[in-house]
Structures are given as structure tokens and as C-alpha cells.
Symmetry: C2
Subunit: 229 residues, 2 copies
DNA sequence: TTAAAAATATGACATTTATCAGTTCTTGTT
DNA sequence: AACAAGAACTGATAAATGTCATATTTTTAA
């Protein structure tokens, strides 16, 4: 059967590729595969995770509830990414919720498999470390964007990000469709403000929309906007 | 002499404690100690680092220049923290500048010592990984604060953070004194806005000031403010 | 298919924050 | 001690963003 980790291509994109044949076999024997419908949670902020989730298909938003009751989306995770790693490694409850933004297929890998490999396979640990170093750098960038760019710039950037990371469909719309609320939670603004700016972008010919779908029409101008004209 | 890593207490607070006796000896033989005056850089954004810096004394701000020419301070690093780890591990140029906020003493450890230990000592790698996992969580929190809290709340939180992490002096002022500009760069706002809010806090009896020094007068109210009453 | 619910959109207005211009206070230097 | 340079501060005003109310469209489910 093709659902053995040893044969899974997804693995090539994450730290699991540093596992040995035997380690992978063990993982494969203990893992379980699970389908998650759009809108359903994979896990919730504050939960104690018994393992990590490897995304085989679909996209998940990683978000954190703020004191004022709004969710802040910290990251969008797609095919190949491993969710819950941070909290399993730090042996803490997770600080983020993971909710499916599209229908998903994820593999659950019990933390024991991860932990014993971390203890025994320095290459694996190093690989995980490198991934986390990368995530940390991205988080730094997000901090700077959040505090130094205007909402308009952040929304423009979000669209460019969606295009670069998830591509476009045949009709030229962004392949990943987010609700206006999700967009506002990515850039950290009020939903109405996001909607207003999206309308403005449309009027100015930077994007085109159809329902909640958004397509990029003038990428150059969007880039200029992000960089401050 | 007491400047050998094996005897350095600072080490207890960071991932170096997971090194073996021999590894520490090697580190100690290759490390160099350096004094950095307040305001001087340890390294600058974009530099390629040939090693990491272990903070023995003093405080450094880690910041990133934004497109609009303002610095965003991402973290304040103090005694025991290791700077430059992320970029050495990811083998990338550093994404942050490190500038001394008070007079400092740091040890430079060449990356070779770090890398060989990462290859050979899984415990060390795991320890570094745990630290980075912690940093990542903190970064997530900062993102949420930046996007969901008002400037007023962020400044209040910054003062509480400074008290909790650096303590107070004998006269009840925060032990770490930051310029108004640095404060504004921590919370991501214009210097004038930060000053205005600090004046307001003073009028309301939440803090007291003397020159650039700030002391917390009513911690409870500050906490309430951060949490949104 | 249609009614109800949810999401999107828009307007009016309040609030927050940035910007610019200028003054006063500190600090370090000679 | 005097002065220059840089911080800190204040006011006036503009710009950005949030909030609330309401209309319209889209989606969902009976």
C-alpha cells in the first residue's frame, strides 16, 4: 500500500527525510492518517499534543486568540509541513490552534517516535533545528511587517504571498481562497478595513474578484505598494 | 584563570551546558572575550557570522531595519543568551542587528566549535532546539501583541516586561534604562507617540520618571491596561 | 426552491496614531 | 561654566484604522 511513510513523497519536504529506513518504518507503523474537513480543527490552542501532524494535502491556518477576542493567524501551513513540532519538542501545551482552511489529509505521528529519533539521530535533530531556525526568521519578518507596514501594504503582501506559495487556478484566481475574515486575521486588522482595502485594490485595477475569490491583476504595482512606492 | 568556559556560570543558562567537558575545553581554547560599549554594534543585519556570541554581561537589542527606515527591536538579550545562533545553524547571513544597550562583555565562539558539536552531540543539538522552540513561541506572542494590542497596551506591557526581566534599582526605577526611541522601537510606534503615552502614564500615576529613567508606580493598573480593563 | 443565516460590502463617525514644527531639557565636551 | 548636540517633550493637524449600523450578496440547509 502506498500510504507507508517510506514511500511518501511529502516526506522529502520536511525533516522526516533525515530519518533512517528503520526509523521511518517505526513511524509508519504507529502513524494514523486522518481527513479533516475545511473549517475543522486539527488541534486547539492550549491542548497537550501527543504527537505531530504531517500535512499530506490541504492547508491549515495556525492562529492564536488575542485578549480582544480576535484570532491572529501566524502562519499558513501546507503540504509537507509538520504541525505541533514546537510544542512536542518543548514539552509544552501548544500555543496555537490549527484549523483546516481547505479539506485536508494529515498523518498523526505519536510523539514517542519523534522523541526517540531526536535522542538517537543527530541528523534528524539538526534537520528539525534548521527548519525551526527558518521558522524563527520568518516570524521575525512578520513582527517587522506587522509593526512597520500599513494595513494596505500588509494586505498587498498577503496576496503576493498567497500567489507565490499556493499559486493560481486556471482562471487566474489565487488557488487558496481565504474568507475576508481570514485575510483580516492574517494581516491583523478589522474585517471591515480589509474589505474596504480589497475594494480599493479592485477599483485601482490591482486585483479582480469573484465572490470571495481574488486574482492578481497588476503584480508590479502591488510590489511597489508593499515597498512603499 | 576564571575565564575558562568550563568554569563559567553563565553557561548554566544556555545550551552550552549540554556540552561535554572536552567540547567545552575546545570551545574555551578558541573563544575570545570582548567588551562592547553601550551603543556599539556586536554585529549588523546582513553580515555573515563566523560564530556566535555568548552574553556574559550587559544587554543587547536585536533589531531589524524596516523599509521605512525605522528599526524594529525584536528581542532584548541579556546575560546567558547566545546571539547569532539562528544564522549560524541555518548557514545564512544574520537577519538582525545586535547593538549593546548597556556596556557589555561577550564571548565570541567560532562556528566550527558549534557545528562539530551539533554533529556529534545529540544532547547539545536537542538543547539548542529546545531554546529555539522557546524563542519561536515568544516570537508568536510578539506577533499577536503587535497586531492586536494598542500602542498604549504595548508600552504598558513593555514596562512590565522590563521589570520582570531586568528588575529595579534601589530607587525603584527599572534597572534597564532605554531611550524613548528604543522604547518606541520595541513597541513599533513613532517616538513622539511613545513619549506622549509615557507622559500620560505619568499623569495618571501609573509610573514615575526621572530623566530617561522610568519606575513602575501602579503595577496592577498597568496589568489591567494590558489586558483591556 | 426558498427562507434563513452568514459573509461581503458600504457609509458615517470616533478613535488612534503619525507627522511636522518648534520648545525645553540633558548631557557631554572643551 | 558655557555651549553645542542630542534627547525629550508639546501642540496642531493630518492620516490611518476601528466601530457601529445597515444594506446587499452569497451560501447553507430545510
Amino acid at each position: 500500500m502506498e500510504s507507508r511513510c517510506e514511500n511518501c513523497i511529502i516526506r522529502q519536504f520536511n525533516s522526516l527525510r533525515a530519518m533512517s529506513k528503520e526509523e521511518l518504518k517505526k513511524v509508519s507503523d504507529t502513524k494514523t492518517t486522518k481527513k479533516v474537513k475545511k473549517g475543522e480543527p486539527i488541534f486547539q490552542e492550549g491542548e497537550k499534543l501527543n504527537g505531530v501532524f504531517c500535512v499530506r494535502d490541504g492547508v491549515s491556518k495556525l492562529s492564536k486568540l488575542s485578549a480582544n477576542g480576535k484570532d491572529q493567524i501566524v502562519k499558513l501551513a501546507t503540504k509537507g509541513e509538520v504541525l505541533g513540532q514546537r510544542s512536542v519538542i518543548a514539552e509544552e501545551c501548544t500555543n496555537l490552534s490549527a484549523i483546516a482552511v481547505s479539506d485536508m489529509e494529515v498523518c498523526f505521528i505519536p510523539k514517542e517516535s519523534i522523541n526517540t529519533t531526536l535522542q538517537k539521530n543527530p541528523n534528524f535533530t539538526l534537520e528539525v533545528l534548521r527548519h525551526m531556525a527558518h521558522d524563527l526568521k520568518e516570524a521575525d519578518d512578520v513582527i517587522v511587517n506587522m509593526s512597520q507596514k500599513t494595513v494596505k501594504q500588509r494586505i498587498a503582501e498577503a496576496f503576493l504571498y498567497l500567489k507565490n506559495n499556493f499559486g493560481e487556478d486556471d482562471d487566474g484566481f489565487l488557488a487558496l481562497t481565504l474568507s475576508r475574515e481570514d485575510i483580516s486575521n492574517v494581516v491583523g486588522t478589522a474585517t471591515e478595513s480589509a474589505i474596504r482595502i480589497i475594494s480599493e485594490f479592485k477599483k485601482k485595477g490591482l486585483i479582480h474578484t469573484s465572490g470571495k475569490k481574488v486574482g492578481i491583476k497588476n503584480e508590479r504595482k502591488l510590489v511597489e505598494l508593499v515597498e512603499g512606492f
